[in-house]
């Protein structure tokens, strides 16, 4: 019996999977019938592309749209603030908390 995948595909329509156990850089991971080359380390709770994504593509998680890609990202890539954005309201990070928005 194979070990359970470190990724979960929450809904069959999703184009990202969620990491449930940390993945080392350079791993090959299988989820939802797809084999993904994971090039960078992924922490629990983060998202990985399960197919090649293009800038402008809607991202689906829980079967629901959660935003859009801002850059092309290959299958197995980390999907986060650097390549994806909200379709509603901008997110902020700690860097944004210091200067202009003090």
């Amino acid at each position: 019996m194979s070990l359970p995948s470190p990724l979960i595909l929450l809904h069959p329509d999703d184009n990202v999977a969620v990491c449930r156990a940390a993945i080392a850089a350079g791993s090959t991971v299988t989820v939802g019938g797809e084999t993904l080359p994971v090039t960078e380390a992924i922490e629990v709770g983060h998202k990985v592309a399960v197919r090649d994504l293009k800038a402008g593509d809607k991202i689906f998680k829980y079967g629901a749209p959660i935003g859009s890609m801002t850059k092309d990202t290959p299958k197995g890539g980390h999907v986060h603030m650097h390549n994806m954005k909200s379709d509603y309201i901008s997110s902020h990070t700690r860097e944004a908390s210091g200067g202009t928005h003090a």
């Binding site: 359970p4 979960i8 929450l10 969620v18 990491c19 449930r20 156990a21 922490e43 629990v44 709770g45 983060h46 998202k47 998680k61 829980y62 629901a64 749209p65 959660i66 935003g67 999907v79 986060h80 603030m81 994806m84 954005k85 909200s86 379709d87 509603y88 309201i89 901008s90 997110s91 902020h92 990070t93 700690r94 908390s97 928005h101």
Partner: protein
């Protein structure tokens, strides 16, 4: 069957707390000294820091001082603040509770007021100790839920597990309240489809649109840096996870802070102010929302966290449900329930949902939560403005 403290207004509490309330920041130190020197963990500090009048703050203070977990109230006023202490005392006494007021400017100053306050607390405790303890049904419970420090695990483990518990409590006739419309941006359409009437559905959508407009003016969504570090990228992604705390039952109505649920079932608490944004962020931190849930009658609050929160609350206990297995290992002394084991395949959502149900029943029966046992009694109340509920917001009335 649970046991509850029967209040003269017919509501039942699961705790018998004496609340010491400062009515302006200038009275905060004196009130805190009275609470600390009382040496009793059942004497809780609450208050409102502002000197200017605010109808919302008055409504919330009235609601929390007449909450069924409260057995008596001591008001600490400086003397010149705007808060209407006579009206608040009248509301507390009308609920059948003992209430005393000390005005620092008329009581000889800091040390004298602390001494008089300790004597007042002893008198209030003596009255509260006479409160009859009676049988209390699960259907008489009001349960709130909030998430704080969400991450990519929250929407997979702790939040849907709370949703399972909410479905069970709602089916028993208890009132279950979820909140933070700013964290439902992106879920408004699917949420509206669960409303018991189409008119309520339209109101639910309008609540979320109001939140989105309000947060846009603020410049930030309800999205903290820790959310991103935990793998969440967008507001709507966080929303989908937060939304799952509501379970799958029909939505019976909308409440605003200080409104009591008229029946059992599931309610959305609209915490975003009405009108033009005036007083800053709707909820400056998690405890502001917990206070509003308590103002809606919550006997206990289910707090889901991924990154890890340690807070509790004055008046009503907080049960912490930890979504992330790594966080649980780091902060287990603060966590009541380890939902992260779902992530590691060591339990199912239904099993953790059952643990949450059992925990609520134990806490309602008097077992202290982790935060309660460690003395967490956070409380924060700031300025807001609300319009009254619209006619479509509460379609169900108690028969």
């Amino acid at each position: 069957m649970l046991k509850g403290y029967l209040r003269p207004d017919g509501r039942k509490g699961i705790r018998n707390v004496i609340a010491v309330a400062y009515l302006v920041e200038c009275a905060h130190h004196v009130a805190r000294q009275i609470v600390t020197k009382s040496g009793d963990s059942e004497v809780h500090l609450i208050g409102f820091p502002g000197c200017y009048p605010n109808d919302y703050a008055f409504k919330v203070m009235s609601a929390v001082t007449t909450h069924p977990n409260v057995g008596g109230v001591l008001l600490i006023s400086l003397g010149c603040e705007s808060f209407n202490r006579e009206r608040l005392k009248a509301a507390i006494e009308a609920s059948g509770r003992p209430c005393e007021t000390l005005v620092i400017q008329q009581s000889g100053g800091t040390l004298s007021t602390i001494q008089k306050g300790l004597e007042a607390v002893a008198r209030l405790q003596a009255v509260a100790a006479q409160t009859p303890v009676v049988e209390m049904a699960v259907s008489e419970l009001v349960i709130g839920t909030i998430c704080g420090g969400s991450d990519g695990t929250s929407g997979i483990t702790a939040n849907p597990a709370v949703g399972r518990a909410f479905d069970w409590f709602g089916a028993q006739g208890a009132a279950c309240v979820f909140e933070e419309t700013g964290e439902l941006v992106g879920c408004e359409t699917i949420m509206a489809s669960r409303a018991v009437t189409p008119e309520l559905g339209a109101e639910l959508e309008a609540c979320v649109q109001k939140a989105e407009a309000y947060y846009t003016v603020m410049g930030f969504g309800s999205f903290a840096p820790g959310n991103a570090e935990g793998g969440l990228t967008t507001q709507e992604e966080k929303s989908m996870g937060a939304y799952s705390k509501s379970g799958s039952a029909p939505i019976c109505g909308i409440l605003k802070p200080g409104d009591l649920p008229p029946t059992g079932g599931l309610y959305l608490l609209d915490v975003v102010p009405d009108g033009e944004p005036r007083f800053g962020f709707p909820n400056i931190s998690d405890n502001a929302e917990i206070v509003e849930l308590i103002a809606c009658g919550a006997h206990v609050t289910l707090f889901t966290t991924g990154r890890g929160s340690v807070v509790g609350s004055a008046i009503s206990p907080v049960i912490k449900v930890c979504a992330n297995p790594d966080t649980y290992r780091k902060l287990s002394e603060d966590m009541d329930i380890d939902a992260g084991k779902i992530m590691e395949g060591r339990a199912t959502l239904d099993e953790v949902g059952q643990e949450i149900i059992d925990s609520v029943l134990a806490v309602a029966g008097g077992t202290p939560t982790k935060s309660e046992a460690m003395g967490h009694q956070e409380f924060i109340l700031t300025y807001k403005a609300f319009d009254p509920l619209g006619p479509a917001c509460l379609p169900l009335r108690r028969a």
